[in-house]
């Protein structure tokens, strides 16, 4: 019997060796280990053995069963692994084919840069104020220290509204929002106001009868001109990086005193002078200044107690500088091939 058992084991292992399909493995399991299998058949003869032989052969038979089972499961694992490897290989795809996308639009470049500026100012505690685009002469000019007959009105190229004796107009500057805010809010005031402004400039690569400004206004006790410089420097460093330099140049606006224009070191040459900045090293960026005491008084704020600063920057110029856009008209033509680039 012992020989029989050893023979079965040898045969089973031999057959296993040549097996290549998982199904064949099942057949082999039945053939050797099944109820009607060869090993079972031999074990059925155990009763014929002597009492001494029975445990010895029993042990051997268990050993043979265990060996075959282990060989079976090892083989099964190998075959499964092979099969999976085969499957994975057959499932290989061209990963360079394009992805399946959901439709996705974009914000206009003017909005993108405006959002960025809004966020920077909100981080500095500025609220966002709105004001009417069609406004009256008082808020756009008179309260801002531009009385009728003021020569600076010439430079504004104002659009007037019919039937209003030139008292209603399209605002030429977001500075009008300063007046609306100061009339209705008590200091401390800290706002920015982005919006559309209108001037009768014919359309060309750098002019448009409609463009956007972002106005800023801070009113409190003890606000200094150095605070204005600090605020604008912070803004520009956040927008253009720590390396950018600002230059403050004296200028004149009727609603601020002192007034300045602020230039930024040229994006192209960094300040050494090139064709983009006309050899200046700087590019004009915005107008600013300390709120004129008359403006404060016009809005009912005591100029001996409060002071403040204001600034207004042109959004289009910043967008064009930011994305190297050389023609302002592109922003209002809205060609999708332009819009999808931002």
């Amino acid at each position: 019997m012992k020989e029989q058992l050893e023979k079965i084991e040898a045969l089973a292992k031999q057959e296993l060796e040549s097996c290549t399909q998982i199904k064949e493995l099942d057949d082999l399991r039945v053939k050797y280990l099944g109820k009607k299998g060869e090993l079972t058949a031999i074990l059925k003869q155990m009763g014929k053995l002597s009492a001494e032989e029975r445990p010895v052969i029993g042990q051997l038979a268990n050993q043979v069963r265990a060996d075959i089972e282990e060989a079976l499961s090892t083989k099964l694992a190998t075959l499964k692994a092979n099969a999976q490897a085969e499957q994975l290989k057959s499932e290989t795809i061209d990963i360079t084919l394009p992805g399946k996308t959901a439709p996705m639009g974009k914000l206009h470049p003017l909005t993108k840069v405006e959002n960025e500026i809004r966020e920077i100012f909100m981080g500095m505690g500025f609220d966002i104020a709105d004001g009417p685009e069609v406004d009256d002469d008082y808020h756009v000019f008179e309260a801002l220290n531009l009385p009728p007959d003021h020569p600076a009105r010439d430079t504004q190229d104002t659009f007037y509204i019919e039937g209003t004796d030139e008292t209603v107009l399209l605002r030429t500057q977001t500075s009008s929002v300063q007046v609306h805010v100061m009339e209705t809010q008590k200091p401390p005031i800290r706002i920015i106001s982005p919006g559309r402004v209108f001037r009768s400039d014919a359309v060309d690569a750098t002019h448009s009868p409609l463009f956007h400004q972002i106005e800023g206004l801070v009113i409190d006790k003890g606000i200094k001109m150095s605070d204005l410089k600090g605020t604008l420097e912070m803004l520009m460093k956040k927008l253009y990086g720590n390396d950018c330099k600002l230059r403050f140049r004296p200028h004149h606006f009727p609603f601020t005193e002192p007034s300045c224009e602020v230039d930024i070191s040229c994006f192209n040459c960094g300040g050494c002078g090139c064709s983009m900045c006309k050899d200046e090293g700087y590019i004009e960026l915005l107008g600013a200044g300390m709120v004129h005491p008359k403006v404060l008084e016009n809005c009912g704020i005591d100029s001996t107690v409060y002071s403040g600063f204001a600034f207004g920057l042109g959004l289009e110029r910043m967008v064009m500088g930011r994305y190297d856009i050389n023609d302002l008209r592109l922003l209002y033509e809205n060609d999708v091939r332009f819009l999808e680039q931002f």
């Binding site: 003017l110 500025f126 039937g163 399209l170 009339e183 559309r196 001109m225 033509e333 999708v336």
Partner: protein, 818 residues
């Protein structure tokens, strides 16, 4: 303002490199736009003397000249110039010379060698005004003294530098050489040398020849006049022409040039006119009479009104004060006696007159900005000094001076501590006083006293600016200001941000369009003649009709952009814009309401006569191509409503609703108005074929306009969690056949009503027309999901609910499809 650096040199020693000068002046407040070195583009051009001129052997039109140019031997030049002859002094461009038009090289002309070229005015970049005696079409034959071989720059005075300043409206004093000299001296801390002009004059009593009366001493505060006899009209000397040229002014004749010269030098407009035409020798500065007429120098007859000021003789106006002289008042060839006027007119008076007459001049633009009210006499004297220097006539020693000016200088508080606090600086008081003194201010007894030419000084902040600009804006430190501030978006701002981001994430590209449109758009979108949208806010002075009215609907702007893209061959576009409409408001403006909100001013400062328009915000969506249809647009709109938590909106046929007049632009069978709780949220649909054609759109196009204020009112940003279901749902599918006209919304409504509380979701999955379905009918299929939160639904419960649904459907004519 173009400044001649040579002229500036009369008053201040400004010999620093020109680039440094421009930068320094810019940084102290006089912005330099650029500078031009005269004759910069000219080199190797010298003075030559023609020794001989003979005809060219091979060409009739050419001549061969031997020319002395200061070199060892004369050079040979071939020329076609007819206006030169032996002995003439001419500019010669030598071999290798540079001219504005290019380089000159020696060469052969018809076989004869030529070593240079004679130059005319054109070739040197000059005009007849620079050398009135020159032949404008020929070679410049020089009549002044110069040396043979001398460089042309020195010989012709082409060696000035002209600096272009941008002068702001508050500093008219800087529109003059002396004004800029003062700024230069203050910037560099250099001495300024301006001497009071003097003239000798001849004996005579002006009062016997001329009488001046000012009838309106408020508008004309000073009038100085003097007389020059035996005038000799002729060209001005070269130095004067050169300076005028560098300042951008065309030389004309000695008298005109003198008035311009003094105006450029001091900023004071001068007027010179012929005494013959002053009837009665009596000048009256008075208001015009309504309807009074004058022919101004530009040849236009102008009708005057009584608020205008004129210079008149005993019978008629001879000039519009400060604006322009009359036709006959100018200097003519036979003029023998000239009156010089130097006056001060009130700025807003000149400004209004100039504006009303639509007439501008150098003089008016200076007067309206404000000239120094104390220099009229100085300038008259300067003019006479020049008349004598030029030998242009005999000046009568006595002059007329009607002076009603207020000589009190502007004086404001000077408080160095306050200035430092205001600027955030630490400038010593002595330095501040030094800066102010350099600028012509006097500081004493805590006051800064402004010089008379500074018409812009009114408050202590003005003094702070003067100190700051000389100290240097860039020397002021940068600080962070203190104080707690809370910043947050308003509800509306948050809402708009959500709309914008949602629209983009749904595939929309944001656009930006003009707020003003052409009134033609109303016809383009087929608005009815009596549509309220045709009532617009209209611009009086638009750039053109295309931008002449403020839009009352955003849809045409969107269609324009869609059309632009379509015609640029972009095969599809999905666009959106958040922008305003401008709706005129009829009612009178509510003064009391305005007053109530002016918390700071407390009182109404301005009489509002006209109501401002409403400016409601709209979200406009437009699309074409990419298989888009009505439902693509509707899907986008639905998803937007989902994002802002507005549920259960109703879509009704646009034709059944009179709220949106833009329905005229839409296909009547494919357009909807969106309503919820009686609020009209928007209109959407396919563009009407005619409108599609009007916009040259070759494909079906879809637009929606959503009203942001109404949506904001309904939107809800409160979200509360509902527990996830514990029990399974039962699902039943249902197909019904119904008349084609019945909208699915009605079927869905019937199902919802019948199934009741256990209804979880009704999903439409098929609408079918065609085979097996009777004509005029359609088959509609739903998947209905039901669920209870109390336990698993039994089949009986679910089937019962379906029976009720079928009954309700039968009531609207829908039958179960077998």
């Amino acid at each position: 303002m173009n400044l001649s650096m040579k002229w500036l040199g009369d008053y201040v020693k400004a010999d620093m490199p020109i680039k440094d000068y421009c930068h320094a002046l810019t940084m102290s407040g006089s912005k330099v736009e650029g500078y031009e070195v005269e004759g910069e583009k000219i080199s190797k051009v010298v003075i030559g003397k023609i020794l001989s001129k003979v005809p060219h052997e091979n060409a009739d039109a050419l001549f061969v000249c031997q020319v002395e140019v200061g070199a060892e031997a004369p050079i040979q030049i071939v020329t076609n110039a007819k206006n030169v002859k032996e002995g003439d002094i001419v500019p010669v461009a030598l071999d290798g010379a540079t001219l504005p038009e290019g380089k000159i090289k020696k060469g052969k002309l018809r076989g004869v060698e030529s070593f240079g070229m004679f130059c005319g005015l054109d070739t040197l970049g000059l005009t007849i005004n620079d050398f009135p005696y020159a032949d404008p079409d020929g070679v410049l034959v020089i009549e002044e003294e110069c040396e043979i071989g001398q460089d042309i720059h020195h010989a012709l005075g082409l060696n000035d530098t002209s600096v272009e300043f941008e002068i702001t409206s508050n500093r008219p004093d800087c529109l003059s050489v002396i004004g800029l000299a003062r700024e230069t001296a203050a910037t560099y801390n250099l001495p300024l040398t301006v001497k009071e002009p003097e003239f000798k004059g001849i004996d005579g009593d002006i009062n016997e020849m001329l009488k001046v009366d000012i009838h309106n001493t408020e508008k004309c505060q000073r009038y100085c006049a003097g007389i020059v006899k035996n005038v000799k009209i002729g060209p001005s000397p070269r130095w004067m022409r050169e300076r005028l040229r560098a300042s951008g002014v065309r030389p004309i004749n000695n008298f005109v040039d003198i008035t311009n010269y003094v105006m450029l030098e001091y900023g004071q407009p001068m007027h010179a006119f012929d005494l013959r035409y002053v009837e009665g020798g009596h000048i009256n500065v008075r208001n015009a009479v309504n309807g009074e007429k004058i022919m101004t120098l530009d040849g236009v007859e102008r009708e005057l009104t009584e608020d205008m000021l004129v210079i008149a003789d005993e019978k008629k106006p001879v000039a519009v004060a400060g604006v322009m002289g009359g036709e006959y008042s100018g200097i003519m060839e036979d003029t023998t006696t000239v009156v010089f006027e130097s006056a001060y007119f009130e700025p807003s008076q000149v400004r209004r007159t100039s504006k009303n007459l639509k007439l501008k001049s150098d003089a008016s633009s200076r007067y309206e900005k404000g000239v120094d009210r104390l220099i009229s006499m100085t300038c008259l004297k300067r003019a006479f000094e020049l008349v004598e220097e030029l030998g242009a006539g005999e000046v009568i020693k006595t002059v007329i001076d009607c002076d009603y000016t207020d000589k009190t200088p502007a004086s404001v508080d000077f408080d160095s501590a306050w200035i430092n606090e205001f600027l955030g600086t630490d400038i010593p008081e002595a330095d501040m006083i030094d800066y102010l003194n350099r600028l012509g201010f006097e500081v004493k007894d805590g006051k800064a006293i402004a010089p008379s030419f500074r018409i812009d000084i009114e408050c202590r902040a003005d003094i702070a600016e003067e100190v700051a600009r000389i100290y240097g804006y860039n020397n002021i430190p940068s600080t962070d200001f203190r104080g707690v501030a809370k910043a947050e978006f308003t509800e509306e701002q948050k809402f708009v941000r959500t709309l914008r981001n949602t629209s983009a994430s749904l595939g929309g590209y944001e656009i930006a369009t003009y707020s003003f449109v052409s009134p033609k758009y109303f016809d383009k979108i087929k608005l009815s003649e009596d549509s309220k949208l045709r009532k617009v806010v209209k611009i009086v002075n638009p750039l053109g009709e295309d931008t002449s009215v403020m839009r009352t609907t955003t849809i045409p702007s969107m269609l324009d952009v869609l059309s632009f893209n379509y015609n640029n061959r972009n095969e599809k576009a999905c666009l959106f814009e958040i922008s305003k409409e401008y709706i005129p408001v009829d009612e009178k403006r509510n003064y009391e309401g305005d007053e109530a909100i002016l918390v700071n001013s407390g009182k109404l400062r301005h009489e509002y006569k006209y109501q401002l328009p409403d400016e409601p915000q709209r979200l406009t969506i437009g699309m074409y191509g990419g298989n888009s249809d009505f439902y693509t647009l509707k899907g986008m709109v639905e998803q937007i409503f989902a994002e802002i938590n507005i549920s259960d909106v109703e879509y009704i046929r646009a034709n059944d609703c009179d709220i949106f007049d833009e329905k005229s632009a839409l296909h009547p069978g494919r357009s909807a108005v969106i309503i919820k709780d009686g609020k009209y949220l928007g209109i959407m649909g396919e563009i009407h074929p005619e409108v599609q054609e009007n916009y040259k759109l070759g494909v079906k196009t879809y637009v929606a306009k959503l009203n942001i204020p109404e949506m904001l009112e309904l939107s809800c940003d409160e979200i509360s969690y509902k527990p996830l279901p514990k029990f399974p749902a039962s699902t039943r599918d249902l197909s019904v056949i119904v008349d084609d006209e019945v909208p699915v919304a009605e079927i869905e409504k019937a199902i919802r009503g019948a199934v009741g509380k256990i209804l979880e979701k009704v999903t439409l999955f098929d609408v079918y027309k065609g085979k097996q379905i009777e004509d005029g009918k359609k088959s509609v299929s739903y998947s209905i999901s039901m669920r209870s939160h109390e336990g698993t639904l039994t089949d009986e419960q679910a089937d019962g609910a379906m029976k009720k649904a079928l009954k309700a459907l039968a009531a609207i004519g829908a039958e179960l499809r077998m």
